[in-house]
Structure formats: structure tokens, C-alpha cells
């Protein structure tokens, strides 16, 4: 019983968390970033600076 309820909670938690992620994506896009921030220069690190770290593009900090 306890184990079955726990499995049920895992399913509920998965759905709730997935919905939360979707909601976050909606809210985060209320203010949209400029186009260059949407496609960070991950393929061509380009010039680096100390703030960005070795190999990181200047300015745009990549994708999380």
C-alpha cells in the first residue's frame, strides 16, 4: 500500500514538475532576449576574456 502510494506520488510529481517547467518557459519569455542571445556562440568560442573564462565567448555566456 505504502509502496503503491509512493509510486503514484512519483507519477504525480513528474507531471507537476514537467508542468512547472513549461510554465517557467512561458513566464521567462514574457520579456524576450535579442536574437544573438538565443543562439550563443558555442561552436566558435572566439576571443575570450577572464570574466567569461577560457574558451568562453565574450558577452553572451552560452546556454544553461
Amino acid at each position: 500500500m505504502r509502496h503503491a502510494l509512493m509510486t503514484r506520488f512519483v507519477v504525480i510529481a513528474t507531471v507537476v514538475l514537467a508542468l512547472a517547467a513549461a510554465l517557467f518557459a512561458l513566464l521567462a519569455n514574457v520579456t524576450e532576449a535579442p536574437a544573438e542571445a538565443r543562439m550563443p556562440a558555442i561552436l566558435d568560442p572566439g576571443p575570450t576574456d577572464l570574466a567569461a573564462g577560457p574558451g568562453e565567448p565574450v558577452g553572451v555566456r552560452g546556454v544553461a
Partner: protein, 438 residues
Amino acid sequence: VTNVVRGLLWSVVYLAAVIAPLFFMLVGDAPPGRGWWMELSIALGFIGLAMVGLQFAVTARFHPVDAPYGLDAVLQYHRQISLVAFGFILLHPAILMVEDPERLALLNPATATTAARWGLASVVLLIAIVVTSVWRAQLKLNYEVWRILHGLLAIGIVITALVHVERVGYYVSGPWRRGLWIVMSLVLVGLLGYVRLYKPWRLLRTPYVIDGVEQLPGDTWRVHLRPDGHEGLRFSPGQFAWLTVGNSPFQIEEHPFSFSSSAERPQRLSFTIKELGDFTSRIGELEPGTRAYLDGPYGAFSYERNQGSGFVFLAGGIGISPIMSQLRTLADREDPRAMLLFYANPDLDDVALREELDRLEVRLDLEVVSVLEDPPDDWDGEAGLIGPELLDRYLPAHEELLQFFVCGPDPMMDAVEEALLDRGIPPGHVNLERFDFI
């Protein structure tokens, strides 16, 4: 009802603890969004990271958290939700790469940014922890090695992921968000300190001494412990504790065992242990007088919190251990209720506690049904497995009013649970103890 309310409360707290940091990042001067799919990917990554971080809390054995569910069910949650977190975290880079296939280059450490390298390292460690946990037996990893590896990999996953987030830097700017990440990191360090330092330090005040080790039939041993300078541990019959043998409680090696002694006798605790692994195969070598420590009690597999007009116990092999504790306690308390015990074993040599069960049949209103999968020719008990036909023959009328306790190997428990539910036994009356933690 109290346990149900507490259980619901902790479930809500868990979900809030995972979700709240995510939305906290949108408070104040939030950075602008970068498209729905990218932000979804990032949200899944953050949620996955929060879930992994919270695993340190889920497995920290906090009594208030474990009590409503039972630690065995909490650890089952730990295993299942880990796979969900694993899926969320894998979706994070997967969505980015599907959205723009050029991002597949993120998988190449030589061309990816530092941030991506840390993220990749975290994912590699995550894959390693899932593989070594799900397939531990197939990989022939012994429990002690696995446990150390599991802890190190878990810490590695969180550290590399936090560095990944910090290097990307998109949602960690500003004092509020930076403060949040510092607090979350400190909570994780605090949890590690609680589990590895504070809890063992508290155990120093309640040491035990091995009082005797008896060999029983079927590669089974009974270990007796007595408290050394304190009153002993109060537990509910059917619960279990984590046993550490040696002079220091600050050890990685500890093992969960069910009490098999009566809860009415805390001055002499007993565990009935079958030789199943590296540690248990050395149980017979324990010397009387050796120091030991107990972290517990844990578990919800007890008649004390599941009262009925009578009890039916169904034990498979060493699953008899927590049931023996309940029967001994019921006998010490002179409980008049009717009880039925199905005790299943592969063959006669595996039956560990027959003589004591005979004595308990005299002290209690108890009927013991011995079941052997492979009985000898002169066997007068039941043969085969515990199934619907056997239950038909022995269960009394109004069986739905009884409480059922099932403990044994997983396949046996699955089959018995299904058979009981098919008979119309209310799910709340079917109590299972799954002691196969990993």
C-alpha cells in the same frame, strides 16, 4: 490519519522545494527569455538539479520525514524519482540539440565551452551513478564499494552541475539569485555534514556491545546486542535499524537489519540475519564484546500502527525476521487476537526458526502454515508457493477485517500482494516490507 496528513504535507514541501528556486529566478530584474524551447530546456535542467540535490535530504533518514511513509518506501521513492531526475536532466541538452543540431558540438569537450564541459561532466557522472545503481548486481559491485562510489558520484554530480550553472551565468546574476544559489549550496553541505558527522556523533552517546552470536539453520545467524551504559532503543515490532560494527560510528559501512526481538525487551536486542552478501557472510565471525552502534528505529511495518481484529503474516525466507519481532512482542503482551503465519522457504534446510515458532503457537492464538517449495518425501506441510489456492484453504471468514503483513523476496511479495488484492482485501490492510534497498 495523522500519518496521512503528515505524508501529504511532506509531499507538498518536496514539490515546493524543487519548484520554488526555479521561479525565484524570475523575480526582480530577470534576464530576458530566449524562446520557449530553450527556457523549457533550462527549467528541466534546474528542476533535475534541484531533485538531485534534494536526494541528499531524502536519504538523510530524518525521522519526521520518514515516519509517515516508512524508510523503505522513502528509499523506493529515492530510486524512482532519481530516474525521473535523470530523464529531466538528459532532456535539458537533448532539447537544445533538437532545436538546433549544431549544438551537438556541445558533446565534444574539445570544441565546447567551459560551461558545456562542466555540464557534460555532470551528465557523464549521472549516467555512471544510474548504471552502477540499477545494474549493481550484474556489475558485481559489492555493497560497500557501491555505497562509497554512490556518495562520491552524487557529490560530483552536484558540484559539476553547480559549476556549469555558474559558468553559464544566465540565471545567477544579481544579489537575490546569487544569494539563492549560495544558500542552496550551503544546505547541501549542511546535509552532508548532518549525515556524515552529526548523526554518527550522536550515536557515540548510545553504544552497544555484541552480546552473542548464534548459528541457526539455513545459513542464518542471530546476533544479540545489549546497550552499553544506556537504556536501549525503543522500537515498534517490525521496525529496523542500521547496524555499524566497530569502535567508531563514523564509518561508511553500515547495514540495515530488522529487529527480530520483542519490543518489550530493549535491554537485549536481536537481529536474525541470513548470509546473503559480503558483510552478512562474516556475521558468524563477530566476537562477543565487540562494540556496535544502531541508527534507528525506522520503518512502518508494524501491527502497532495497523490495528485489526486479527493478523495474517506471510514470510518468505529471512522475511520472517520482522515478523518474529511482532510475534514475540504480541506474546509478551499476551495479545488474545487470532493470528495466522504462512512461512515459506525453498526447502527444509532453510527453515530457521521452526522450534521457536512451535513455542509461540502455545503462547499465542497462532496457527503456523509451513510452505516448502521443494519439500522432502515425508513432508506433511504445504508444498509449492504461497498463492490463491493456499490462501483459500486457510484464510478465515471476514478476512477483510484482518491486517496482512508480507515480507520476503520481491517476486513472492508481488505475487502475494496481487493475490490479496484480488481477494478484496482493502489495500490499506496489506502491509509490505521491502528490504531490498538497492
